[in-house]
Symmetry: none
Subunit: 141 residues, 3 copies
């Protein structure tokens, strides 16, 4: 593909949209916006993510699912113009609370010391039996 | 410490900025505010709703409960000066995850394409056995 | 009451404090920030707390656990520069929904009439079997 400075690959108008949105505080930006939900919604400098599951490895052990979720979250946060050092509040659902330590072994390595979010973890059955952990994030950008 | 009217402690020049921001941004508005909870709380351009249940039809099938919740939510969002096209993040609790598709059949028709919120759905027993679905909303206004 | 321009009622320096807060709207403040999570995260005039449990009395009846949680929350909100009259949204998880009334008997006395938050309560198994109630808070400051 030829590089074309006036017509960027992907979403050419994204930059402009962001600018005007940044100006007015009540505008809303949505990423990966599907008919049921958006993966990220940005408003007033705050990024709300959809519940993240291990879409690349359903059925895998909790450790792998947690790792996959956090990799996917890193990408989503980057697309939203932020990163894990700006997390505000996280809710974690485990299909089985006995996997709490296993999940934390991945979580603890992922979070940024000095910039950890407020967090709550409870047990809940998830939408698909293949998923054993789900995480919901609110971040600043 | 001596008071010095010309040289305030802290950062004296930021006062003007803050005053106008502080006045409007820190105020909180509450709708249907009861002794236990308010149905909607508005702060800084963000609307937080209480967990919504099908108060008009407890015991009804999930489809009807979902429809009732979303009708009630429409009214509440309107009273708060906003609407479903400005939803930011939604949490859905189902008493039985096997009703996921049934709930979605109502949800998918209700949301505004291109303006869907971030969403997470998990299973949880609710406050009354008559309720089989509950939804919590954060919206911009 | 006579207006006195030199001695404001309440907290005379509040304006100045607010100013520095208003200035850097995108900055993030964290309280009791551990390697896994922070107990409070403050951004853009909003305070997000970690899920609060009765750390001082695990295994105690729900009533006592609720009381302990709310005492701890009062302290945490104070440290974050706010209080329970500025609560926006609260999620409550009960290990056993049959303790709903017991939890509410403490909650109802604690909240500030006219300033109650949006609230959702669902059942969920918590991180430790000794904990029978957990609460997650979002407040303005």
């Amino acid at each position: 593909m030829r590089a074309n400075p006036r017509r960027c690959p992907g979403r050419p108008d994204e930059g402009l949209i962001t600018i005007s949105q940044g100006e007015s505080m009540s505008s809303i930006e949505r990423l990966e916006s599907g008919p049921r939900m958006s993966q990220a919604v940005i408003h007033n400098g705050v990024v709300y993510l959809a519940g993240q599951v291990a879409a690349d490895c359903p059925g895998a052990p909790v450790k792998d699912q947690a790792r996959n979720i956090l990799e996917r979250t890193d990408k989503l946060l980057a697309a939203a113009g932020t990163d894990k050092a700006k997390l505000l509040q996280v809710t974690i659902w485990l299909a089985d609370m006995r996997t709490f330590d296993e999940m934390n072994s991945v979580w603890d390595k992922w979070v940024v010391t000095g910039s950890t979010p407020a967090r709550a973890t409870v047990e809940a059955k998830l939408a698909s039996p293949g998923y054993t952990v789900e995480m919901s994030f609110i971040a600043a950008r």
